[in-house]
Symmetry: D3
């Protein structure tokens, strides 16, 4: 405990980026809530862009316009 | 807000089917609960059939009998 | 199967509103993906407004300005 | 109802292992809480080892030292 | 790791019942998948009956007929 | 997008503590993954200590020995 589930749309994130996010979440829970780092689980789930809708548009559609 | 997580067993759903489900969920939350569409996230997660059990049988096993 | 988890900020939603959202989600999964209504689970989780952040603001703070 | 979401790091689990875990969870909910097996859903989600952090280390890193 | 999220409709379950379910889930993951008990988290979430729909009926409605 | 679900055992966390954790998670996703803060949702769910098991012990039992 704690358990943190991070959902992001797939975007070729590197392992370094994922580790950096995990590290900062563990630090935040340690420093702000006193949760011991070794008991904190952080899971990052990468969702296909076609499977994530925001309002009436998918992230695949939004990002294709960029 | 809101955030809706839809889990279904993998079944070759098309992007059109997924968009249609997302659209109707966003409309339902807008019309029934006044939630603004642009702030509503819908994530569809497709689970391998061997990884979903209902009672003592997996969906893979059930669907193989159809 | 399917299983749908709807998270919304607490807002005194009536049981009728919740049932209406559930009904429309079940119908959407039936009509768009052929999922039998009786096997579709919809769970609505109401989150305290102080516990939901969007960017650097909580929903409690946003709604207090309305 | 109930719905049980099991997250484990990917580890080449066989279908037999997954079925065995599902069976024992369904039995536990039946015998300890009286939940009918046929209404109990168990979903096993296998997470890439690089995407699961425990404290300041990923499971990929931990398991690479074994 | 692993992390198990059990959702059940509220039904005045005792702490003993909850502990028994947790114990059997931990044992199943240990004996079937070799997951060390001390690293296995099991969270039981009790959902208000009005907030859980199965098909076109809530659990509150179903259980009121019993 | 992204959506972050933080589960912690109930421990009388103040709103300030929760906001601080939310803020640092939003910053981490912005600075490490380029995710726009205003589109990042962070939900903190506080779980009763009797409902969270780690191995063969609940958090309620562990914390009662402190």
């Amino acid at each position: 405990m704690p358990y943190v589930h991070v959902q992001v749309a797939e975007n070729d994130y590197s392992d370094d980026q994922k580790r950096a996010v995990m590290k900062r979440i563990v630090e935040a829970l340690d420093e702000e809530m006193g949760r011991a780092p070794q008991s904190t689980n952080v899971v990052i789930q990468e969702i296909p862009k076609e499977n994530w809708g925001v309002g009436f548009e998918t992230i695949a559609s939004m990002w294709s316009k960029r």
